[in-house]
């Protein structure tokens, strides 16, 4: 697949594959007003969360970083931040961190409910429409694979995930890196047991130590709360299906990252450098928190493998769902984009990888994924990362 057909939008030095206008809560208290405006302006996307106030200091920093990172994702062309007026993370603080203006092809405004003297919903709707008018004028430009950062995710995995969808996705990760792009592998609990396999692709000795430190941190955090992460994995369901050890489970998960050299271990919502390669990101195993972290780090698109099926998406990062087996594709065709289950019937991993690249090419040519069509705007900021 050449990159001639890829289309996107220029945002300063970066390129996005969407031109979204988003209405972002700076604090959970205003969520209902955001929902009401977005239910009337259907092409404006709500970014909702319960955070923004009452945080410990480190948590507040992470919430602000994640909100700002989401607004700065190259898929975003217009931002209206709605706050309350008395919260810790103000709308003004979020807006101040957003790169805006004609050179970025991005426009931002912020408002606080407590300061709005007129009818709130029509007022915000007016402001959102004014931003939309500017954003609609932003032209499409051709883009390349080297402009793209992919976030990887697995959720609702089954025994086939490590046989079909994950290895096929790994081939796609390798392809993207060979074309100059970047890939982010996250979900640290799913790296426990696979550290040695990851370390073999790391040149820097310090980074190898970091990989073990990151997994150990989760093991210790769970132990502090009376939970044995290693002893409880694989789960009884996994064991009944044939997965025997935590090493086997995690090695199956990390397959989706492919075989490229690992460049860095990013903190939650951090941006990878522009070097092409595979990056790890410190996120929990929770799908939505993981997607949120990678999108805030600038990933323009996600590849999400699933065995049982899930509709989860993200407000501004298109999520491509890849099923590990054909039964879930049949039962949840409304949620799944690509079926890698053909591998179980004898097709090659290369053939499944080509199907994924086709879906990726379409998504990067303005065609919406099922999660986008279903308006699945899942958004959740990790609260674990800064607390240990």
């Amino acid at each position: 697949m050449n990159s001639m057909s890829l289309t996107g939008y220029s945002r300063g030095k970066k390129k996005g594959i969407r031109n979204h206008v988003i209405l972002v809560s700076s604090v959970g208290c205003v969520n209902a007003m955001v929902e009401q405006v977005c239910s009337q302006e259907r092409d404006v996307i709500p970014v909702l969360h319960p955070n923004g106030c009452g945080h410990l200091h480190e948590e507040a920093e992470l919430v602000l970083k994640t909100l700002a990172g989401t607004c700065n994702n190259p898929n975003v062309g217009g931002v209206v931040v709605l706050g309350l007026g008395c919260e810790s993370i103000t709308s003004e603080q979020v807006a101040a961190k957003v790169d805006s203006g004609p050179e970025f092809n991005r426009y931002v405004e912020f408002f606080d409910l407590q300061k709005i003297k007129e009818d709130v919903v029509p007022f915000i709707r007016g402001k959102v429409r004014a931003i939309k008018e500017k954003v609609e004028k932003i032209p499409c430009v051709p883009i390349n694979w080297s402009d793209i950062t992919i976030g990887l995710e697995c959720g609702g995995s089954d025994i086939f995930s490590g046989i079909s969808a994950n290895p096929a996705t790994g081939l796609v990760s390798d392809y993207l890196v060979s074309q100059g792009g970047r890939v982010i592998l996250s979900e640290v609990p799913e790296m426990i047991g696979a550290e040695e396999a990851l370390c073999q692709r790391v040149k820097d000795a310090e980074l190898r130590k970091v990989i073990y430190q990151k997994t150990q941190r989760y093991i210790d955090l769970a132990k502090k709360h009376g939970q044995d992460l290693i002893g409880s994995n694989p789960t009884p369901g996994n064991i009944k299906s044939g997965i025997t050890t935590i090493e086997e489970k995690s090695l199956g998960c990390i397959l989706k990252g492919g075989s490229s050299e690992i460049i860095d271990f990013l903190d939650y919502a951090d941006k990878p450098s522009q070097t092409s390669g595979l990056f790890l990101m410190d996120t929990p195993g929770n799908d939505v928190e993981s997607l949120t972290g990678m999108a805030a780090g600038g990933a323009q698109v996600a590849l999400f493998t699933t065995g049982r099926g899930t509709p989860a998406g993200h407000p501004i990062m298109p999520v491509i769902k890849i099923s590990s087996n054909s039964r879930v594709m049949k039962n949840m065709a409304w949620a799944i984009d690509v079926d890698a289950g053909k591998v179980l019937e004898g097709s090659s991993l290369d053939s499944a990888a080509k199907d994924i690249i086709t879906a990726l090419t379409q998504t990067c040519s303005l065609i919406p994924t099922k999660a986008e069509r279903n308006r699945c705007y899942n958004f959740a900021i990790s609260r674990l990362s800064p607390l240990t």
Binding site: I163, A197, G242, T244, L251
Partner: protein, 93 residues
Amino acid sequence: MNKNVSIESLGLQISPEDDVIVLLKDLSPGDYYVEQACKTVRISETIPLGFKVAIKEKKIGEPIIRYGFPIGFATQKIHVGQIVHTHNLKSSR
């Protein structure tokens, strides 16, 4: 009899160093050729899809390789054609 059918053709092996094949279909009882071991083995019970079948002999304490990496170690001697699971494979963590 399935003497002409190799176990490897019924499963998936991610890496050439792997000690096990993961079955893509239930394996019915019968005789199967194991390419890796150059021998025919008799399977006496149905092995469900998704389970691992040994394609190499392993001694007690030896690491079991899948995906090109150790997934634990053998707690019993493992013969070619045997299921590899919790009764004979333990995590190293």
